[in-house]
Symmetry: C2
Subunit: 181 residues, 2 copies
DNA sequence: GAATATATGGACCACCGATCCGGATAGTCA
DNA sequence: TGACTATCCGGATCGGTGGTCCATATATTC
């Protein structure tokens, strides 16, 4: 990649992070390009789709959540580890308003730029869930995909301004359901 | 209202029902107008916002759900009545892809055309919930707003193609959490 | 310094919801 | 019946969206 292209790419990523943190994942791409002092075509060349841009922006966050799951796998009680990680996942999405819809679409869409990250995340959750199930502290009739869906649903609640005040409480309600044997 | 206006209004509503059933609540208004053989301006004059159109389209459904809650209030066990009604609510939303987002926004937005219907729905749910709580068969740390949020979240799951296959199962998981004392 | 490969962004396109306003028409009254 | 008016209609237009094309500018190589 040419030096000027690299610079544009990095700058775009930085500006996109700011704008998306302010306006959510549905922020206008043209607006991001404008704020970066660049044409829309340039943004779209570096990141052909909104998903591609978000993937570049979020994949370190995904890695952190996966790494956190790894740590928790060998520490504390299986049920505390599971719930703690779920809480981290839901809390993280609040930083990126609207991201849950994209993640829900990406988990089964192998073409999506976010697909790999979502699958990795689901696998990390599955390991924590299985450990708790083996320990007899999580219900055995759900799997990693169910867990992913529940995280997405709770994160979605936090995304809806009118329902967000209840999100934390409802997290506890759902968590209690997961931990019921 | 003039006879021609009434005819256009009714026809628009009929066409909108078909198109929205096919494409979800985010269907293009211009497309609906075109299929009705009418200008976009005409549609927007009869229904100034998308919410207004949906309210006109859905309010009989809302009434039916509210009436159903009324019936259930005096029949069967309180917990069966509650769960049965919740299932009806979630099942109903599958007919109108994407409606949950609008409902979540409308419940706290007194300006929304859907606001009144949502509030009525929440009140109906609250009555069923309270009855179950009084009977000691539903957890007492949730209220009607929590219930509304849980319905919305489950309905949202059913709206996401990748997660929909799990929606029924996760309904049971969440229902079990509500019925836990 | 010239040649070449690559990156750029303005000018488009089709679509969206929204608004304006001149023309068509239904309902009314003489 | 005929004319008048209040109402309704929809094409044209506006600013916005994501997406594409291509002449121009520039970094890199020789």
């Amino acid at each position: 990649m040419r030096a000027d292209a690299r610079k544009n790419r990095d700058h775009l990523l930085s500006v996109a992070g700011t704008v998306i943190a302010e306006q959510g994942v549905e922020a206008s791409l043209r607006d991001i390009a404008r704020k970066a002092g660049v044409g829309l075509a340039t943004l779209l060349r570096h990141f052909p789709t909104r998903e591609a841009l978000l993937e570049a922006l979020l994949h370190t966050s995904f890695d952190e959540l996966t790494a956190r799951a790894g740590e928790l796998e060998t520490s504390g009680s299986p049920e505390d580890a599971l719930v703690s990680w779920l809480r981290d996942c839901v809390a993280w999405t609040t930083e990126y308003r609207g991201v849950t819809v994209l993640m829900a679409a990406a988990i089964e869409d192998t073409e999506s730029a976010l697909h790999a990250s979502c699958v990795t995340l689901r696998a990390a959750g599955t390991r924590l869930l299985t450990r708790a199930q083996d320990a007899g502290t999580a219900r055995t009739d759900i799997d990693g995909t169910d867990l992913f869906a529940l995280i997405a649903a709770l994160a979605w609640l936090g995304d809806q301004p009118a329902l967000a005040p209840r999100a934390d409480h409802l997290f506890d309600v759902v968590a209690s359901a997961i931990l019921a044997k």
